[in-house]
Amino acid sequence: MHDTVVFKNKILPYFLLAPQLIITLVFFIWPAGQALYQSFLIEDAFGFSREFVWFENFVYLFQDPEYWNSMKVTFLFSAMVAVTAMGVALLLAAMADRVLKGAGTYKTLLIWPYAVAPVVAAVLWWLMFNPSIGILPYWMKFVGHYWNHYVNAGEAMTVVVIASAWKQISYNFIFFLAGMQAIPKSLIEAAAIDGASPFKRFWQIVFPLLSPTAFFLLVVNVVYAFFETFGVIHATTLGGPDNATRTLVYKVYEDGFVGLDLGSSAAQSVILMILVIALTVIQFRYVERKVQY
């Protein structure tokens, strides 16, 4: 109820905000508006003619099986990245949480991949899975499998999922570990006195208490897989084979910068923005709900 004490200066705050606002306006709001405007236009590649077509670009997109395929690929890819990264991280965090000796060293050794760029991660795994010289296909030959991600869609997807998830494990690990360590010890002790085994304690006490963290991470991982893995795909599969790894962001890039289909690319950008906003709203809801606890 107190109007919190503030400085009375009326002009200074505008100066303080100016850099942020100017950059936001020029590089965020303006391009976003441009994208919206362009999504209603059909333009030839050289910009000689343009025509206002209302929602034609969108209609065309939604009738395009390629777009639906890309949508499917993106959702599949994101789900697999999130599940892999979170699953491995949860397992490792559960192990590290109860370790006393060397906990710091383990933590350091698990955290550093966060610093690796997605595109670098992709190149590392691309070499590991290289069909002719890679170590993993070499081992697979012993069990009779001939790996080739250049032709096999499933195998191409596997590589980009592993490369993307690998880098993200650290991030999830940090949050899961922090979440576990925030659980009051007395709670675990009470469960132990009630006769719950370590395994039961994890599933019945720790895991349910981690669910808010898990939800937060799910959103973060999905956003990461949607938008930040462009480098992974661009450096390795280029969306192939046969568009099996062409995610939505990659398609925006391809249609815009390679295909020069500006209207369609802009329409795709607009749809992506709506997706991001939806994800952010979900996240905000979560934050709000957490505040109420």
Binding site: M1, H2, D3, V5, K8
Partner: protein, 359 residues
């Protein structure tokens, strides 16, 4: 040194809530005034308006001869001690105390001299290089005091400065604050919700409720002659006993058929047949022999405090719980009946509707 005058001060928030109604207060030079009241009564808001931390919606505020309504806090020459001390966590004790002087452009050697002197007065010289984090609650409290006295301001403002301390330290610091205030002779305003603190510290006490002043005056005067039922109930621990009463002749008729003959102490003739509220302080209910008793307390609980013993119980046929304070020398048992006599000279009568004092 200065007087502080609040004249027709009003505070209205943007949402329309009126926190302070027409507050008038003249604080003579060197006096310590305590604002006391329940939370939300407007005491803190009043203090913060004097400090300049809260804007004043109406009226005039003078410190000395200057109208300070529109001056910045720093320009009012005041110092404030906060409830959570508000020490700068990244600065040493010395820097905490020196910061206000530095900002005022006091030369370095003078700053050192002043801080050293203030620290010596408060016996915190050995803490000067420490950070607030390394100090105990009581030490932090002293540093906060030091930051106030080092500037030798016209007015000290205290915003519940002792409420974060444990009971023992609170008593100790209370005495310390009183000592310092008298030593420096600085006009002070002190806000608290603790009536014991208020009673013991104040030269003058201001009891506030719902943004209005209920009563002001020397603490004992407020205790002995509360003008309203609110003041009567707020001051004193355990609190005053209240019961409804009807006047008939020179006698008060209480629920449950009890009667209280006034005798010569009070003349009730002008209040015939009126419905009143009778207020009796626990210490004015004396245990006595049966023939002298005004009524008999059915004791339900006994709280021996050492020096005193509190008896909680009810009068037969009366629903209200009543407290009587007795000497600790005599042992009382739960379930017994204790005859009580009312000290006629110290009863309080309030109007049932206006809740204002009648006798």
């Amino acid at each position: 040194m200065a007087t502080v005058s609040l004249r027709h001060i009003n505070k209205k928030y943007d949402n329309g809530f009126e926190a302070i109604h027409d507050l008038n207060l003249e604080i003579p030079d060197g006096e310590l005034v305590v604002l006391v009241g329940p939370s939300g009564c407007g005491k803190s808001t009043s203090l913060r308006m004097v400090a300049g931390l809260e804007s004043i919606s109406g009226g005039d505020l003078y410190i000395g001869d200057t109208r300070v309504n529109d001056l910045e806090p720093a320009e009012r020459d005041i110092a404030m001690v906060f409830q959570n001390y508000a020490l700068y966590p990244h600065m040493s004790v010395f820097d905490n105390m020196a910061y206000g002087l530095k900002n005022r452009g006091v030369p370095r050697d003078q700053i050192k001299q002043k801080v050293d002197r203030a620290a010596a007065t408060l016996e915190i010289s050995h803490l000067l290089p420490n950070k607030p984090k390394q100090l105990s609650g009581g030490q932090r409290q002293r540093v906060a005091m030091g930051r106030a006295i080092v500037r030798n301001p016209k007015v000290f403002l205290f915003d519940e400065p002792l409420s974060n301390l444990d009971a023992k330290l609170r008593v100790q610091m209370r005495i310390e604050i009183k000592r310092l205030q008298q030593e420096f002779g600085t006009t002070s305003i002190y806000v608290t919700h603790d009536q014991v603190e208020a009673m013991t510290l104040a030269d003058r006490l201001v009891v506030m409720n719902n943004g209005r002043v209920e009563q002001m005056g020397p603490p004992l005067e407020l205790y002995e002659r509360p003008e309203t039922q609110f003041v009567a109930s707020f001051l004193g621990s355990p609190g005053m006993n209240f019961m409804s009463a009807r006047v008939d002749a020179n006698c008060l008729h209480l629920p449950g058929g009890h009667q209280l003959e006034m005798g010569q102490a009070i003349d009730l003739t002008k209040l015939q047949q009126q419905e009143l509220v009778l207020g009796l302080r626990p210490e004015h209910l004396e245990a006595c022999e049966m023939p002298d008793a005004d009524f008999v307390l059915q004791v339900e609980m006994v709280e021996p405090l050492g020096a005193d013993t509190l008896l909680y119980g009810r009068l037969p046929g009366n629903e209200d719980l009543m407290v009587a304070e007795q000497s600790g020398k005599i042992r009382y048992e739960r379930g017994t009946k204790v005859p009580l006599r009312v000290d006629r000279s110290s009863i309080h009568l309030f109007d049932k509707d206006s809740q204002r004092r009648i006798v």
